[in-house]
């Protein structure tokens, strides 16, 4: 089995990086699609999550949304958008990924805003804050860790799923893997898989750092935190909401 060796050879060839539709081109495409999808999802999902969380209504709808979104295969979503009049390509991929990124952000934002202590909110109101100020200056900072968890989950999912777009002629780094299968080139397949995995892990790492930077409160470096029993949720993604 010489797949890994071939992958190293593939990745060490500068031409594979710089040529047209090479790794750099595809990486740029991948990042552009993912970035646009996450931004679009943020614009839609955060206000909805805040509205639902502050009013506390529609809890059932949020749970249903979270459950159903897990049952819909991303591949199906990508394919269905590709055969609409939009046509296959980066635009359809972006829309499908944005749709896919909405549920985790909505659920986590909802949970975050639901979790804000009612007393704190009441105190803020008593201090004369307007409703808007309460949401922006009390609720938001307190809910930010959960909101960021949602954004991180969604972003990692989007970056990972964007690779599947190659199966429906969508572009991105998945194309290296798909091409490798087409050419029966194990090295290229492994190289593509390594690139996609690396990108997903980097996204996760980057967003852990971003949420560490934006969440207010006492700062300890994530790795310098006092040793505690490792905190575990019921599952790795939608933390906080028993689904």
């Amino acid at each position: 089995m010489n797949g890994l060796g071939d992958a190293v050879v593939y990745l060490n060839d500068p031409l594979n990086w710089t040529r047209r539709s090479g790794i750099l081109d595809l990486l740029g495409q991948h990042l552009a699609i993912s970035g646009a999808a996450v931004l679009a999802a943020l614009v839609v999902a955060v206000p909805v999550g805040i509205a639902l969380g502050v009013t506390g209504r529609e809890a059932g709808a949020v749970v249903v949304l979270a459950n159903v979104s897990r049952a819909v295969p991303t591949l199906a979503l990508l394919t269905v958008f590709a055969v609409t009049p939009i046509g296959f390509g980066p635009r359809a991929t972006t829309i499908a990924l944005a749709v896919f990124a909405v549920p985790p952000i909505v659920t986590n934002t909802y949970v975050g805003f639901r979790g804000v202590d009612a007393d704190v909110r009441e105190a803020a109101r008593g201090m004369g804050m307007s409703r808007r100020q309460v949401v922006l200056r009390v609720d938001l900072p307190l809910a930010l860790p959960m909101v960021m968890t949602g954004v991180r989950t969604a972003a990692v999912q989007v970056v990972a799923t964007a690779a599947l777009a190659a199966l429906v002629a969508g572009g991105g780094l998945g194309r290296i893997v798909a091409l490798g299968f087409g050419q029966q080139d194990d090295g290229q397949i492994i190289a593509g898989a390594l690139l996609i995995t690396g990108l997903a892990l980097l996204t996760e790492l980057l967003l852990v750092l971003v949420s560490w930077a934006v969440v207010p409160g006492p700062r300890t470096l994530p790795f310098a935190a006092p040793r505690r029993r490792p905190a575990i949720g019921p599952e790795p993604t939608a933390e906080g909401l028993p689904l």
């Binding site: 591949l75 590709a82 055969v83 397949i189 996609i196 029993r229 993604t237």
Partner: protein
């Protein structure tokens, strides 16, 4: 005789292929009826892969969770590793396994088992850590053996968390199986990509997609029923 595509038929905007003019409905009952056996074949493979992956995942996850509970030293690495594995995109996961097992259902099975394993370990560990230490202490004092302790004390108390994990793992696995199309064994995913490649045949795509969603919902309902059946005491308390 009228030609299908003549020069006069081309609108000023540009050339239109004959295929674009053909009706391409989103759902077609006659497609489902005509291809019933094919659909059932794909559905069968989908179910086999899902059940196999969740069973293998459970078989590996349970000992891991038991080990991780016993030593705090192991719990950290097990959970960190599970987070990393969960972050690996599905396309890459199957691509990593492919050189070893080739274009076979085994490739898909291994990849899916890895994902369900990761989900299950966390849920199993959550369930096991939820068993109060006092209860275990008391059971040990009453003379329960190691096996008896697990079978009569840990398992019943952790069962709700176990079942929740199984449900999440099963539903996610049903959705993920479609990506197996990469190595030609994606169950209903074969129909999704098959329809895409067959000149964007929507009826096939939508049938495959709906099949996946329905399968996931049926599996979830079934597991919920099993959960009620095996934890009757949960309802009595309510």
């Amino acid at each position: 005789m009228r030609p299908v595509l003549s020069a006069e038929a081309v609108p000023p905007g540009g050339g239109v292929l004959a295929a674009d003019a053909a009706p391409n409905p989103w759902f077609d009952a006659s497609y489902v009826v005509d291809n019933w056996n094919t659909i059932m074949g794909y559905l069968g493979e989908h179910v086999r892969l899902t059940v196999g992956a969740v069973l293998i995942g459970s078989a590996v996850a349970l000992p891991l969770a038991l080990l991780a509970r016993r030593s705090r030293f192991l719990a950290g690495p097990v959970l960190a590793l599970s987070t990393i594995v969960y972050t690996i995109p599905s396309l890459a996961m199957f691509a990593f396994v492919f050189p070893f097992t080739g274009l076979s259902a085994t490739t898909v099975l291994i990849g899916l088992a890895a994902y369900s394993l990761v989900i299950l370990v966390r849920n199993f560990l959550t369930g096991l850590q939820g068993v109060p230490d006092d209860v275990r202490e008391a059971a040990r004092g009453m003379g329960y053996s190691r096996l008896g302790l697990f079978w009569r004390i840990d398992l019943p108390l952790a069962l709700p968390a176990f079942m929740a994990g199984l449900r999440i793992a099963t539903v996610s696995t049903v959705a993920l199986t479609t990506v197996g199309v990469l190595v030609g064994h994606g169950g209903l995913g074969q129909m999704i990509i098959g329809g895409f490649n067959a000149n964007f045949y929507r009826a096939e795509i939508v049938t495959g997609a709906l099949g996946c969603v329905l399968l996931a919902l049926v599996a979830d309902v079934l597991l919920a029923a099993v959960e009620r059946l095996v934890t009757p005491w949960v309802r009595v308390g309510a």
